[in-house]
């Protein structure tokens, strides 16, 4: 693949976990790529992690198993990890976690090479994301709006249907983009074979495969490779969005596996750990991935990121979801309790949030009543959850009439608003009208977050149509 430039060194002074230590080096740069040649002649890729006068520490993406201390050779390539980007050569293709073709096709040869680490976007050059994306899912469109250029992760747990949900988002948002150029960049990190296959089939069925590029590091692929996969994917996404003016949806799954690979390298290197053994720079490292989303003033395209992560033990305070939530513009939280009740998508809207919602909705974008209605529904549902707790203590019979309304609201909200079919695609107006219908379970004087005019205009009409 790369040109054979640079110097070659024989022998490793130390091999520790995914790291090798090479002595006697000269003229090697920090972050440079290396090729490690085993005694059998197999070539593995690596990257310089730290460097001093004559010692380089190199992480080997494909692992160090089988490396001989005395007979391995290391070649330094004199450049950082780069990837060739060209829309024609990557769309519709499948690559491995290091960007090598898995579909029998040739590796990308035209196009320019890019450092996969990317460059920070000048905040002044960013365009604030405000374009509403209709996902057709009420819990998202109504209450946690996704906008173009946003990074909105899905916080999931093992066994929860995050794959189905993100596939549904891809399927349904795609429909709206007919007029414009769109692409889906899919990066799998330590994902199960069946999950990757599920996505592939789904892209195929919905006819979007020719607009998809997949980078697959599967569960049985080398773990350190996962540090590279999202960066290659985002480098390709940046090219498509900022040079080819496409609207790109990037799916990263599963960020938990990525973070574990990072921890593995950090502990092997003997770094000072912070929480749960993760390195102190986990925040900065995650930011270097998540911040590669958005829009810039010099291009028409956009990068919207949906990162999926499974919360270890469903714990939202675990460092991975915690730091992710601090970087991303909100989160969609899946809930085991709802899942067990048979509700799909099991989105718990209370801890879910979209930070870019307020500017992406309202008159001219969705509808004038959207903000207030969403706030009202949130308040009612939060109160309904409190009433449910109370009911579980004192029993439903002892509740006041008003409290019983809350129970009814909670049931209908979860059973009709949240719950929908994996192929059910609701328009934003259907979602909002449904929200009004549920809100009007209460007398209008209890709806303090919406304006009386809004009740007049939207609340009453729904009731009326219901009566008919």
């Amino acid at each position: 693949m790369p040109a054979r430039t640079g110097l070659e060194y024989l022998g490793l002074v130390r091999v520790q976990g995914p790291l090798i230590f090479v002595k006697g080096i000269a003229n090697i740069g920090f972050g440079e790529m290396a090729e490690v040649v085993t005694s059998e002649g197999e070539v593995r890729l690596g990257r310089v992690l730290s460097i001093s006068d004559d010692l380089a520490v190199v992480e080997v993406f494909e692992g160090t198993a089988g490396l001989s201390g005395s007979e391995s050779k290391v070649r330094f390539l004199g450049r950082p990890f780069e990837y060739r980007v060209s829309a024609e050569e990557v769309l519709g293709r499948i690559f491995d976690g290091l960007g090598r073709p898995l579909d029998g096709g040739p590796p990308p040869i035209a196009g320019q090479t890019r450092d996969i680490n990317g460059l920070p976007i000048n905040p002044v050059a960013r365009v604030y994301p405000q374009d509403f994306i209709q996902t057709g899912i009420s819990a998202i469109d109504g209450l946690n709006v996704l906008v173009r250029g946003q990074k909105l992760p899905i916080f999931s747990g093992s066994g929860l249907p995050h794959a189905q949900l993100s596939a549904q988002i891809v399927r349904q948002t795609r429909l709206l983009e007919k007029e414009e150029r769109f692409a889906i960049v899919f990066a799998a990190m330590g994902t199960k074979h069946e999950e990757a296959q599920f996505f592939r089939n789904d892209f195929e069925e919905s006819g979007s495969l020719k607009n998809v590029v997949m980078f697959l590091n599967l569960a049985d692929d080398p773990s350190i490779e996962r540090l590279i996969t999202p960066r290659i994917a985002l480098t390709v996404a940046e090219h498509l969005a900022f040079e080819e003016d496409m609207h790109v949806l990037v799916i990263l799954t599963d960020m938990t596996n990525y973070c574990e690979a990072l921890r593995e390298v950090a502990t092997s290197k003997g770094e000072v750990p912070s929480r749960k053994g993760y390195p102190g720079y986990l925040y900065s490292d995650l930011a270097s991935i998540y911040e590669r989303a958005g829009r810039i003033a010099t291009a028409k395209g956009s990068i919207t990121q949906i990162a999926i992560l499974t919360m270890p033990d469903d714990d939202i305070t675990h460092p991975i979801p915690d730091l992710t939530g601090y970087i991303t513009e909100g989160q969609i939280v899946l809930d085991r309790g709802l899942f067990q009740k048979g509700i799909y998508p099991p989105i718990n809207v209370l801890p879910s949030l979209s930070r870019l919602m307020s500017d992406g909705i309202g008159e001219g974008r969705t509808r004038e009543d959207h903000q207030n209605l969403a706030s009202q529904v949130y308040a009612l549902y939060a109160q309904a959850k409190r009433v449910e707790r109370l009911a579980s203590i004192i029993g439903e019979e002892d509740l006041t009439g008003r409290d019983r309304l809350f129970l009814r609201f909670s049931n209908e909200f979860e059973g009709r608003f949240i719950k929908q079919g994996p192929y059910e695609n609701r328009t934003i107006f259907e979602t909002l009208d449904l929200g009004w219908e549920l809100g009007m379970i209460f007398p209008s004087r209890d709806l303090t977050r919406v304006k009386p005019e809004e009740i007049q205009k939207y609340g009453k009409t729904t009731l009326f149509s219901q009566q008919k």
Partner: protein
């Protein structure tokens, strides 16, 4: 300065590099690395070796590369051309960088902080021959339509003015005055000066903060006020509204200058601020808010060492405007990201960690930062202040973590954001039980003068009801509201009125987003009066609470915050009158 000294890199570990032959390097000295001229700062010295934190990406850097000492500590350029502009953590002008090198930040592309070509209209305010002291104002420049930039004698200089330039346009590199210092040497004064970021700028003396930093946010102004020159922290997990609160404050506080530091935060959020501010108008002057705001933006994907420097750059600029006799409010979002940058660099230096991997000097660094806030008499004899509001992002919303705990030791006002309130979309999600303010007594007098009503009294009445309600909530959770006796129901419903009709405030509603002082006082008076009448009605006339909660004025009370701006207080007085009438009616009917 002295001729540049050269050292050689012998180790690279992310943003931290080690050099040898560092003869004559000093602590915190600025260095320039290699041909790309990357910027760095000396953070450790031992023998002929030095450790340097690099403000830019170090990928590709090689051992053996030379590093040049600059003989100066990391400094800011202070002069006209700061207000309304956006800088990164080491004061590189981001708009200029965008024009010069495109939408991505490439390394080694340092532009000068202040525009060298722009001419400013200078008006002298002293005559030649006069004796001047450090910090004394010698002339003015109109920096924006609303900020007059005072040109001051630099802090370490005093003497006799030999010459001062006549009124006219000058660039910042042109000399505008000549001064003979105490040693008899001649010194040039320009429109700008340099100051090291890690050193506090001198002043004559500190004074106690006594005036509130009015924010238009009811829960803050009324319950947990901040004073001009005071310190406050806003801790809260993600999604609790830290950033929105910071944005609200930077929009509405009655300071002359706002310094907003986006420290390790989201790029899109910064883009939102940069889009909003030129459009928003200051409620007091009617001028665009951008004309009094300075942005430091070091988003989370920008280099981590520059993030560490960003809060110092910000506070140095804040102090500089304070020295002109302005009230400056500084928002840092988020100090946790700054602390993490500190941790990351300490980790790379292989320092022994204290709590949760943070270095042992975390507390003293936080103290140094917050102590740079204060109200002072400036060198020029005026009153100025720097108020500091730091957001804290505790991991997992756990306030017992080191950054929150150490911050608590050094700030006087604490606005605790609450996850549960936030998930019910109850904003601002400031928990009224866990929050506190050390300035309640010092600002009481201001309220008395301003609003002609006993603010302290209203405040403590409302807080007492909220505290009692919190106790009742525990019971209600177990047995339901219906089981409460009448007088407790009054507290329960009354507290709900305070929470929903007063404390809750929408940042997105054009009327509710800012509440003037008079509106705040009347709103709370109305609610407290309602509770009072409810109490007597229940106690003396045995009318059940649910009957009272049907009086029509309640609906008006619910909507008053959205309906009336508060420039005119008559509608509120009308509500008060209606309230009394409706209670009287109720009593008549029920009797």
């Amino acid at each position: 300065m002295s001729k540049t000294r050269k050292a050689i890199i012998n180790e690279i570990n992310g943003p931290v590099i080690k050099v040898r032959q560092a003869y004559g390097f000093s602590m915190n000295e600025m260095v320039v690395i290699g041909e790309e001229k990357l910027l760095g700062e000396v953070i450790e010295l031992y023998g002929d070796q030095a450790t340097i934190q690099v403000y830019e990406d170090t990928t590709g850097l090689k051992p053996g590369t030379s590093v040049h000492g600059q003989g100066l500590p990391l400094f800011t350029e202070l002069g006209p051309g700061i207000v309304g502009h956006v800088f990164d953590g080491i004061q590189r002008p981001l708009s200029v960088m965008y024009q010069d090198s495109g939408p991505f930040i490439r390394r080694g592309k340092a532009g000068e902080a202040l525009n060298r070509d722009k001419a400013w209209a200078f008006k002298p305010k002293t005559g030649s021959g006069e004796r001047v002291s450090p910090g004394q104002v010698i002339g003015d420049v109109e920096e924006t339509d609303r900020v007059v930039h005072r040109i001051m004698v630099p802090p370490n200089l005093s003497g006799r003015l030999l010459e001062i330039a006549p009124e006219g346009p000058y660039t910042i590199e042109e000399k505008i005055a000549l001064l003979e210092d105490e040693k008899g040497e001649t010194q040039e004064i320009k429109l700008y000066q340099k100051w090291p970021v890690r050193r506090i700028r001198p002043y004559q003396k500190r004074i106690l903060p006594s005036e509130p930093l009015f924010t238009g946010q009811r829960v803050i102004d009324f319950f947990f006020p901040l004073a001009k020159g005071g310190t406050a922290a806003i801790p809260g997990g993600f999604g609790t509204g830290k950033t929105i609160t910071q944005h609200q404050l930077s929009k509405w506080v009655d300071a002359d200058i706002i310094v907003y530091i986006g420290c390790g935060e989201r790029g899109n959020e910064m883009a939102g601020v940069l889009m909003d501010f030129p459009k928003l108008l200051d409620p007091r002057t009617g001028r665009p808010l951008i004309e009094r705001t300075i942005f430091i933006a070091n988003t989370s994907d920008m280099p981590v060492a520059a993030r560490e420097a960003s809060i110092y750059t910000g506070i140095t600029i804040a102090e500089y405007y304070r020295d002109m006799g302005y009230h400056v409010a500084l928002m840092a979002d988020s100090t946790s990201r700054w602390a993490e940058a500190l941790r990351e660099i300490a980790g790379r230096m292989e320092e022994m960690p204290a709590e949760e991997g943070f270095p042992a000097y975390l507390a003293s660094r936080l103290a140094e930062f917050y102590e740079r806030a204060g109200a002072v008499i400036t060198g020029g004899g005026e009153t100025g202040s720097v108020s500091v509001i730091g957001a804290v992002s505790p991991p997992g919303s756990d306030f017992s973590e080191p950054v929150t705990q150490h911050t608590k030791r050094y700030v006087s006002t604490f606005w605790a954001l609450d996850k549960e309130l936030a998930s019910a979309r109850y904003f601002p999600a400031i928990n009224y039980l866990d929050s506190y303010s050390g300035y309640v007594e010092s600002v009481a007098l201001w309220w008395k003068k301003k609003a002609d009503f006993d603010w302290t009294d209203l405040r403590s009445q409302a807080l007492a009801i909220l505290k009692e309600d919190a106790k009742l909530m525990n019971i209600v959770k177990l047995i339901g509201e219906d089981a409460l006796p009448g007088d407790q129901k009054v507290i329960f419903h009354g507290a709900r009125l305070i929470k929903e009709d007063f404390l809750q405030q929408s940042a997105f509603d054009s009327v509710d987003t800012y509440s003037p002082a008079g509106k705040q006082v009347l709103m709370l008076r109305i609610i407290l009066r309602f509770i009072e009448r409810m109490k007597e009605t229940v106690a003396a006339h045995r009318i059940p609470v649910y009957r009272i909660m049907e009086v029509p004025v309640l609906e008006e009370m619910e909507r008053m915050k959205y309906t009336y701006k508060g420039d005119d207080l008559k509608p509120f007085k009308d509500i008060l009158k209606r309230l009394e009438e409706e209670f009287d009616d109720l009593l008549k009917r029920e009797a």
